[in-house]
């Protein structure tokens, strides 16, 4: 899966789980996940959706170091091609 496809799908997931409204089409690699209205409860929803949508399994603590949308796309990309 190419990087732009991953980010498009992440935008869809974030739009479903975030607690604040954004123009999701403008969200890019440099945006931080914390700034997008994803609190700790939404984060659990978010992780569930990522695991199911991309069909990947990972330990939730591996995501703790991931802070931006770009880092998250890299994280997912590495696992979908693994």
């Amino acid at each position: 899966m190419v990087r732009t496809q991953i980010i498009d799908r992440l935008r869809d997931i974030m739009a479903r789980t975030a607690t604040t409204e954004h123009d999701w089409s403008r969200i890019g690699e440099g945006d931080t996940i914390a700034s997008l209205g994803i609190d700790s409860l939404s984060m659990l929803d978010f992780v569930y959706d990522i695991q199911q949508e991309f069909g990947i399994q990972f330990e939730a603590h591996e995501l703790v170091a991931v802070t931006t949308v770009g880092q998250l796309a890299t994280f997912i990309g590495e696992r979908t091609t693994a």
Binding site: S40, L41, M43, L44, V47, Y48, Q51, Q52, E59, H61
Partner: protein
């Protein structure tokens, strides 16, 4: 004005703590019963909620029985606080191992005694939940999530006073995913009370046949971390004598239907809590507003 009120409440709590610390267990428990009776007589709204909950849940057959049980439950609530305060001093003279009987399935016992294994511990405001966490922390370190109290002085005092041995607390608002997942990864038990009203961020599931909004976090945490869920509670069977019960472990595989997965887990846990409450109804905190979703207005959820 608010600050003055908080300081007065803080002074009262400090005085009560000092008194309970100084009194022998038997006298402290008698005092707890007296305070419980006083609260039952004066806190009319809470009493009405408790009586109503007892009748609607079917635990009490009539209003008379509900009033009697609610009074016992009020006494028990104060007793929970007092026994929690007295436990350390008591266990210096009577080792805690002699005061606690474990009624735990072998598989759960193995999880609790495995220092590498993180466990999600579900419980409710049943029995002696504070003492339960204290005794369990001798087998496995525990991280409990707590709600901030309205009074910041009392809140700070409780955060200093409650943690014991390997039992630590984190305020709900500081409970970020990293901390929770980190605790599970470090082999701790993450203790979550499942019977608090979740407002609009919960999922409505039945509890005693009535719709109640339940927090989804415990279910999602299980689904994303795959750590087993254990349901546990601790009943006081005699003064400073306890029996720790557990059921499980429960494991659920994600199916891709998040709503259904979360519902399955929450329904299972609420059933466990309901069965536990039925086994010792006089030790449940009936005075809290668990059922705030009107039966005829309960939203239809998948």
């Amino acid at each position: 004005m608010k600050r003055l009120q908080h300081l007065l409440e803080y002074a009262a709590v400090r005085a009560l703590l000092l008194l309970v610390d100084l009194l022998p267990v038997r006298v402290a428990v008698t005092l707890a019963h007296g305070i419980g009776d006083l609260a039952w007589l004066t806190m009319r709204r809470r009493r009405r909620i408790a009586v109503d909950n007892l009748i609607r849940s079917g635990i009490a057959p009539d209003a008379r029985a509900a009033r009697r049980l609610s009074r016992v439950a009020f006494r028990h609530f104060v007793r929970v606080v007092v026994t929690s305060i007295k436990s350390d001093a008591h266990w210096r003279r009577h080792p805690w191992q002699e005061c606690v009987e474990w009624c735990v399935p072998e598989e759960v016992a193995a999880l609790l005694d495995d220092p590498q294994q993180g466990v999600i511990l579900a419980s409710g405001h049943l029995g002696s939940w504070e003492v339960g966490a204290q005794v369990l922390s001798h087998r496995k370190p525990i991280l409990g999530i707590t709600r901030r109290m309205n009074n910041p002085y009392v809140d700070r005092l409780m955060l200093r006073r409650k943690p014991r041995h390997r039992f630590e607390l984190t305020p709900k608002r500081d409970a970020d995913l990293g901390r929770l997942v980190g605790a599970l990864g470090a082999g701790k038990a993450l203790a979550i009370m499942i019977d608090t009203h979740a407002r609009d961020r919960g999922m409505v599931v039945d509890f005693f046949g009535r719709p109640a909004s339940s927090h989804t976090a415990i279910a999602l945490l299980h689904l994303v971390t795959k750590k087993p869920i254990v349901f546990g509670w601790c009943c006081e069977v005699a003064p400073m004598r306890f029996r720790f019960y557990a059921t499980g472990p429960f494991r659920f595989a994600p199916t891709g239907n998040k709503q259904r997965d979360v519902r399955t887990i929450l329904e299972q846990l609420n059933r466990e809590l309901e069965a536990a409450v039925r086994s010792c109804p006089e030790q449940y905190m009936w005075g809290h507003r668990r059922w705030r979703v009107p039966t005829d207005e309960a939203p239809k959820q998948p």
